[in-house]
Structures are given as C-alpha cells and as structure tokens.
Assembly symmetry: C2
Amino acid sequence: MFSKTCEYGIKAMIFVAQKSKDGSRVGIKEIAKGTDAPEHFIAKIMQELSRKKLVHSIKGPNGGFYFDKTDLKTSLADIVQALDGNAIYTDCALGLKTCNAKKPCPVHHQFQDIKKNLIKMIEENTIGDFNAKLDSGKFFLVN
Amino acid sequence: MFSKTCEYGIKAMIFVAQKSKDGSRVGIKEIAKGTDAPEHFIAKIMQELSRKKLVHSIKGPNGGFYFDKTDLKTSLADIVQALDGNAIYTDCALGLKTCNAKKPCPVHHQFQDIKKNLIKMIEENTIGDFNAKLDSGKFFLVN
DNA sequence: ATATAAAAAGATAATAAACTCTTTTAATTC
DNA sequence: GAATTAAAAGAGTTTATTATCTTTTTATAT
C-alpha cells in the first residue's frame, strides 16, 4: 500500500506525538527503537518531515523532535503526501497517464470507489486522534 | 497500489480475453502494443500467468495466448495474487508482522475497512466482466 | 570558550524491482 | 524433415528503493 519510507514515517510521527505530550523531545535513537526502524533511515525521514513542517526539531543537548499543537492536526494524508507524493490521489490503477472519468481504463470506476474511501480515511484521521487511543495500551508500534 | 508487473498483467489479461473471444490467439508483440507495455517484460509476466493456468498458450505458428471459458472467470484478485502475492490480504499498513485484531497497530482498524472493500472488489470483478464493457468502446487500455 | 549532544546534510552501499537480451524448446506448415 | 513461428527459459542490465556511514551544523551546558 505505502512505501517503507511512509510506513516508518507514520509510525515515527505517532511515536513522537505520544512522547511529546508532556513537552519533552525525542531523539532519533529513541524513535528508531520505539518503532523498530533502522536508525539512519528514520533520521532521513524525520528530516524530510521536519523540512516540510509536519514535525518540529531542535538540535543540541536535550534536543530532538517534538509536536506542537498544530502538528497534532497533521493527518495521515499529510504524511503520505510528504513522503510518497500524491500518487495515491492521481495514479490510475493500471498506470495509464490520462485515465479519468471521460476516458477511463477498464477498472477505473471500480477503483475510484475504493480510492475515495481510502483518501477520505487518511484525510480524516489525524496524529492527534491516535494519542488518546495509544494511551489505552491497546495499540502497538512494534511486535 | 500494485506493482508495475501487476498493472501490466491485468491490462494484458483484459486485452487477451478481448481478442480471444472469437477463438483466435494473441502473440506477445500484439499484447505489448495493445497494452503499451515493454515486450520482453510482458512476455515474462504472461509466462508466469500461463504457468499458473490463469491463461493458456500454445507455441509455434498461429500460436499465442488465449482464454478458454474457465479463464474468463479469473478475478482481478487471482491476477494480483499470482503476480504480487498475497501481501494485500495479509500485510499491515505499517509493516508490523503480527498486527491483527488482538494486537493491532494504531491504524489497524481504519485500514481493515478499506482493505475489506478493496479485496471484495477485486474478488468480485472477473476478466469476463470486462469483455462486454470493452465492446462498448468506452474503455481504454492505452492513452 | 570548550566540550558535548543531537539534528542536518552529503555521500555511499545493498537490495529489490523493472526491464532487456539471448538461447532453447515446442508446434506448425510447406 | 527443413524452415519458420512463437512461447519458455535463462541470464544480464538498469533504475529505484531501502539502508548505512561520515561529516557538518546548531544548540546547550559547564
């Protein structure tokens, strides 16, 4: 469904949001451990998300990544777009460049329904929404 | 959503089904042109689909790929599974190995809904279903 | 100021996916 | 049965993704 980059990105964002509830910051090593992701790879991903202002960071001792209140409104769609681009919005299931309602590929209409649901879902779910859920201890970021 | 392999595979299967309605066979070159896919690559894909009996083929002059009546009942899901495996059935959106209803990742429930719809759709749509639709001239395999 | 901590940036390496080329095998037609 | 046609199989190349390593910059604390 998503690239590894995106999978790690979503996990990391949820992890950081969770940890930064009390205002503390999270370092790359802690994120890597907490989400079972390769340290240097997740570093690149967080850099990118930071550059795009979906998360904040400060350098130096006691530095790290953190969420501010607006960051909590970041949706899954924002993260997916930042890391995987908008292929999910635009791309035809069969890879046709100009597939649309007027000139549809044979599976266009079937997939439009699915994609509509998927897009709605990732746009409606924000990172903030997951905070409360995770507190219950009923959800997991590593196995 | 799917790999290139799978995109080409679905297009090729629809194309062959279409062309073999009157009992004729379609060669790799014709498939490649008709679906705008790299010739040698689509050859590999058809080989694999043929090995898995989702389409039939015979060698030599007047040979090529063709559908018999049971082949028409092949669903999109069959093709996806043959080429991309069953990741779409089993894989967690965040890449967790043992993510399930009992031990869900934070986005598990959201994605289960989407996946359920997607799987239902690809299982219900067969290649045969597209034949009639394509005859109308309202659908396209190349742009 | 100096040492230290941590992210940012740049460069490189490994793996997998996508694509191509060549040879072999099977079937057909003459 | 020789020539031809077309898929099957095997091997190889290119490109993209994933992952790692090294250096630089920025901030903090002592």
